[in-house]
Amino acid sequence: MEYEVVIGLEVHAELSTKTKIYCGCSTEFGGAPNTHCCPVCTGMPGALPVLNEKVVEYAVKAGLATGCTIARESKQDRKNYFYPDTPRAYQISQFDLPLCEHGKIDINTDGLEKTIGITRIHIEDDAGKLAHDNYTGGTLVDLNRAGVPLIEIVSEPDMRSAAEAVAYVEKLKGILEYIGVSDCKMQEGSLRADVNLSLRPVGSEKFGTRTETKNLNSFRAIARSIEFEIARQKEVLESGGTVYQETRRWDDEKGEGYAMRTKEEAHDYRYFPEPDLMPIRLSEEYIHHIEEHLPELPESRKARYMNELGLPEYDAGILTSSKHLSDFFEAATAACGNAKAVSNWIMVDIIRVARELGVEYDALPFTPVQLAGLIKLIDNGTISSKIAKEVFEEMVNTSKDPEKIVEEKGLVQISDESAIKEVVDRIVAANPQSVADYKAGKDRALGFLVGQCMKEMKGKGNPQILNKLILEHLQ
C-alpha cells in the first residue's frame, strides 16, 4: 500500500532577552553551574514569579511575523510534573489561551511553494540541565538555564516529507533571526524541534496514530529522524502491526529512534491557571506599535533584491536565507554600490569560506566593507578579477584591508598600453603556430596567446587592454 506521511512540528526557541522570564537573572549561555540563579528560578519556598515584559514583546513579534492573531487577553498556566531539572515541579506555560494563534508561513521545496499553518505560539520557561557526575556516579543539576524564556511554535500537521519539515524549520529560523527575538543556535539548543509523525493510506482523510520524537537540535537530525520514523511505521503497518501513540527519543550518533513512553504512561500535567501571575492584557496600541516597528522579513527582502537590485530569484533566495548573510550583503552593497558583484562573491566564495571555517556569517574573518573595497579595486581597474581572487584568499587568511594587500604584494594591474604591447609583441613572435591556428579560424588559439601574455605579466595585465592589443596585432 502507498502511504502518505503527515508531519506537524513543535519548535522551541529560546528568546534572546537579557534576563530570565520570571526573575532578573542573566540568560547568558555558559557560566559556572548554578551561578545565574536566585530564589525565584531555583524554586525556593515563598519565591514568586514576575513576568519579564520583553518576553511578551518578543513573542508578539514572532506572532506578527508569522501572520498570527495576537490575543488581547491571555493567561499563564502551571504544567505539573516532577523532574530534577524543574525546580518548582511545575513549568509555567500557556494552556488554553496562548499569546498568538492561527498563523502561517510559506515554504519552498524543489521550486514548489506551500503554506504551512501555525496553530499557536505560546511563552514558557526552560528547565535546567542535568549532568552525569563521573566522580560520584550521581546526577548533578545546573539551574542556569532554568527560567530562560522560550516560545513554543506549534504547526498544523501540514508537512508531507522530511524535506518540507526541514524547509519549514529553516524558514522559521530565518524569521526569528530577522526579527531579532532568538539567536537560534541549534548546537546550543536554543532552537529545537519535536516531530509529530503519522502515516495514512494515500487518499485517506483520517489521520493515522502519531508518534512524537522529541528534542531534535539540527536539520540533519530532523531529516534523519523523520526518514527513520517513516520507515519504522511503514514496516509496522505493512507487517499488519499497530503504531502506538508514544513519545520517542532520537539517538543521532547511532541514527536510531527509541520509544520513551507510551500514551498510557503519559503525564497528566494537571494544567491550571497560574495564580501567582495576572492575565496578560495587551492594548491595540501596543500590538500596533510592535507591528509598525517589525524589521523587514526575508520574503520582502527577497522581493526587493529581485525587483530593485535585479538579482535572480535563486540568488535572492540564498542571500536572504540567513539574516547574517543578508545583512552582510546589504552592508557590502551599501559600501560599493555593486549588488551583482557582492552577490557573486557571496554565492561563489563567501558561502564556501564560511563552510570551510565553520563560522556564522556574522563571524567571518573580514568585514562587508573590506569586501566592498575589493570590489571597488576591480571596478576601477586597479586589479583584475583574477588577482582579486588572490587578494580575497589573503583577506580571509589575514583580515587585512584589500588595498593594503594589493600595495604590499605589488598586485596593481598593468594598464600601460606600451608595456602590454611590448609583451604582446614578444609572445606573438614566439608562437607562430598559434598565430597560424588563429588565422585558420581556431579561436582557441587566441585564448592561449592571452594566457601566455598574462603569465608573462604575472597575472597583472589589464585583460581588456590585453585582448584589444592582441587582436590588433593579429589583424
Partner: protein, 483 residues
C-alpha cells in the same frame, strides 16, 4: 517591679520615647517570660535570643542618638514560621523543612527590619498552614494561654498564643481560610486578614496562592493599625500585590460609628454556631446600634457553597505549590532510595504529615484530567458567585458583622481525628478569603468557662480603614471585663 510584657506596642513606644525603659530591657523581659511560660504554651518553634538582643542594642543606640524612629522601633515581634527569614530557620512546622534556613528575606521581614521591629522568634503553626488547631505541627502542639487544655486555633496558633500569653506584644500570621482570625478569636486577641493583594506574599511559603495573605495579630486595634502600616504596600516582587496608594491606617483609629451601615448576614448564625457565640455576637450588634450605627439583617446566599469551593481551590493550588518539596535541592530527603522515583515518593511520604498529604492528594485529584471541569472549574464559578454576593451586600452596607468561629476553642485532641469536623471550624471565615475582602476578629465576650469569643467585621476590598474604625470604636466603648 513592673511587668514589661504587659504593655501594648504603642505603650512601649511611648516609654521608649520618654526614656522610661530601654529596648534591651524589654527584649530581655520577653525572653525571660518566654523561658518561663513557653514550656507550657509552646508558641515558639525557634527563639531568636542572641540576634534579638544584638538588634535591641542597635535600635537603642539609635534612640539614644536622637534618631527619629518609627512607632514600632524596638518592638519585639513573633513571626509565623512560614514567613522567610534569612539566617533564621523557616520550618513551616514540617519535618520537610525542619532544618531549612531561607537564603532570602520575605518582603514583610525586610519591612519589619527597616522599621526597627525585632524578630524575637518564629511561631508554631499547623504544618504548611493546613489546619485549624495547630495540632498538625510536626513538632509539638501549642496550648491556648487562656486554658492550656484547649487548642489555640490555627493555623497561626503560635502567633495568636504568643500575643495572648504576652510572649510577644505583636505577631504576624497568615490567613488562607481563617488562619489569623480564628486563632485570634480562640485566644482572645485581635487579628486582621487584609484584602488579598494589600500585603506582599513574596517570601510567604505558599499554601494557596490566590487566598494566602499575611496579617497582624495584636492585643488591641491600635497595634493592628500600626503594624498594618508597616507591612502593607505594593511590592514589585509579587505580581498579585495591588499597586494602590499607601495609606496611614492609624488615621482610622476614630471612636465613631455613627451612621455606619452594618449588615448581619443570617447565614452566619445557622446550624453549628453555638448558643453562647450567638449571644455574644448579638450583644455586640446591640452595642453597635447603641453607638449610633444602623444595623440590619442581610443575606449572603452563596455562603454554603464557599466552604467546598474553598477546599477545592486551596487544595488544588497547594498540590502544585508543595511540589517543590521533592528532596532534591533542599529540605528533607529520604535515606531510603535507589532511584529518582524513590527519592520523590519516600521523601514526600516521610517528610509531609497526614493532613498535608490529604490535601495534596485531594488537590491532585480535582485537577486531574477528566475531573477538572467538575471540581476546579466549578469551584472557580462558585468563587465568582461568592464575590458577587459580597459586592451586592456592600452596596447596602459598609461593614458585615458575623461570629469569627462557630464555637470557642475546643479541647486539644477532640477533633484531630475527624478532618471534616475540623474543616467546619473554617465555615465562617473561608468565604472572606474566597472573596478576597478584608476582615478583622475582635474579642466580644467569653463563654461560661471563660473562653474568648470573637466577632468578625468584614469590609470592602481595600477598605481596611472602615473595618479598623468599627473595631476600634467597639474596643473603646466596651469595658474590658465584658470581653
Amino acid at each position: 517591679m513592673r511587668d514589661l510584657t504587659a504593655y501594648k506596642a504603642h505603650e512601649l513606644n511611648k516609654m521608649y520615647q520618654n526614656k522610661e525603659v530601654t529596648v534591651p530591657e524589654v527584649i530581655k523581659a520577653y525572653i525571660e517570660k518566654i523561658k518561663r511560660d513557653d514550656g507550657a504554651i509552646k508558641a515558639y518553634i525557634t527563639l531568636c535570643e542572641d540576634s534579638a538582643l544584638k538588634r535591641a542594642e542597635e535600635i537603642q543606640a539609635r534612640f539614644d542618638a536622637g534618631e527619629k524612629m518609627g512607632p514600632l522601633a524596638g518592638i519585639p515581634i513573633a513571626v509565623k514560621d512560614n514567613i522567610c527569614t534569612k539566617g533564621i530557620k523557616t520550618t513551616c512546622a514540617s519535618k520537610m523543612l525542619e532544618n531549612f534556613i531561607s537564603p532570602y528575606d520575605a518582603t514583610v521581614t525586610k519591612k519589619l527590619d527597616e522599621e526597627g521591629l525585632i524578630i524575637i522568634g518564629k511561631t508554631n503553626m499547623d504544618e504548611f498552614a493546613m489546619g485549624g488547631s495547630t495540632e498538625n505541627s510536626a513538632f509539638f502542639k501549642t496550648h491556648n494561654p487562656v486554658n492550656l487544655n484547649k487548642v489555640p486555633g490555627g493555623s497561626s496558633g503560635g502567633s495568636a498564643a504568643a500575643v495572648s500569653g504576652h510572649l510577644a506584644p505583636v505577631s504576624l500570621g497568615s490567613d488562607t481560610g481563617g488562619s489569623i482570625r480564628q486563632p485570634a478569636a480562640f485566644c482572645g486577641v485581635v487579628g486582621l486578614k487584609p484584602t488579598y493583594g494589600l500585603v506582599s506574599r513574596y517570601g510567604l511559603v505558599a499554601f494557596a496562592s490566590s487566598l494566602d495573605q499575611i496579617g497582624p495579630i495584636a492585643n488591641d486595634v491600635t497595634d493592628i493599625a500600626t503594624l498594618l502600616n508597616v507591612i502593607a504596600g505594593h511590592d514589585e516582587m509579587d505580581s498579585t500585590s495591588a499597586n494602590i496608594e499607601k495609606k496611614d491606617y492609624t488615621l482610622a483609629l476614630v471612636n465613631d460609628v455613627k451612621g455606619l451601615r452594618i449588615g448581619v448576614p443570617r447565614e452566619f448564625f445557622g446550624e453549628g454556631v453555638s448558643e453562647e457565640v450567638r449571644e455574644a455576637v448579638s450583644k455586640a450588634v446591640e452595642q453597635f446600634r447603641a453607638l449610633g450605627a444602623t444595623v440590619s439583617e442581610c443575606s449572603l446566599p452563596a455562603t454554603d457553597y464557599a466552604l467546598p469551593a474553598y477546599y477545592i481551590i486551596a487544595c488544588a493550588e497547594a498540590s502544585a505549590n508543595l511540589g517543590r518539596f521533592d528532596g532534591i535541592r533542599y529540605g528533607y530527603r529520604t535515606k531510603n532510595y535507589e532511584n529518582l522515583q524513590d527519592i520523590y515518593r519516600n521523601s514526600r511520604s516521610e517528610g509531609f504529615g497526614e493532613e498535608v498529604k490529604r490535601r495534596i492528594i485531594l488537590g491532585t485529584y480535582v485537577l486531574s484530567s477528566g475531573y477538572y471541569d467538575a471540581y476546579y472549574k466549578k469551584a472557580q464559578k462558585v468563587r465568582t458567585i461568592v464575590k458577587k454576593g459580597f459586592d451586592k451586600a456592600f452596596e447596602d452596607y459598609d461593614i458585615l458583622l458575623t461570629p469569627t468561629a462557630p464555637t470557642v476553642a475546643f479541647d486539644i485532641g477532640s477533633k484531630i481525628n475527624n478532618p471534616l469536623e475540623m474543616y467546619m471550624t473554617d465555615i465562617l471565615t473561608v468565604s472572606i478569603n474566597v472573596a478576597g475582602v478584608p476582615a478583622i476578629s475582635v474579642p466580644c465576650g467569653k463563654d461560661k468557662e471563660g473562653m474568648p469569643i470573637g466577632m468578625q467585621l468584614i469590609g470592602k476590598h481595600f477598605n481596611e480603614e472602615t473595618v479598623i474604625r468599627a473595631a476600634y470604636t467597639y474596643e473603646q466603648n466596651v469595658k474590658k471585663e465584658e470581653v
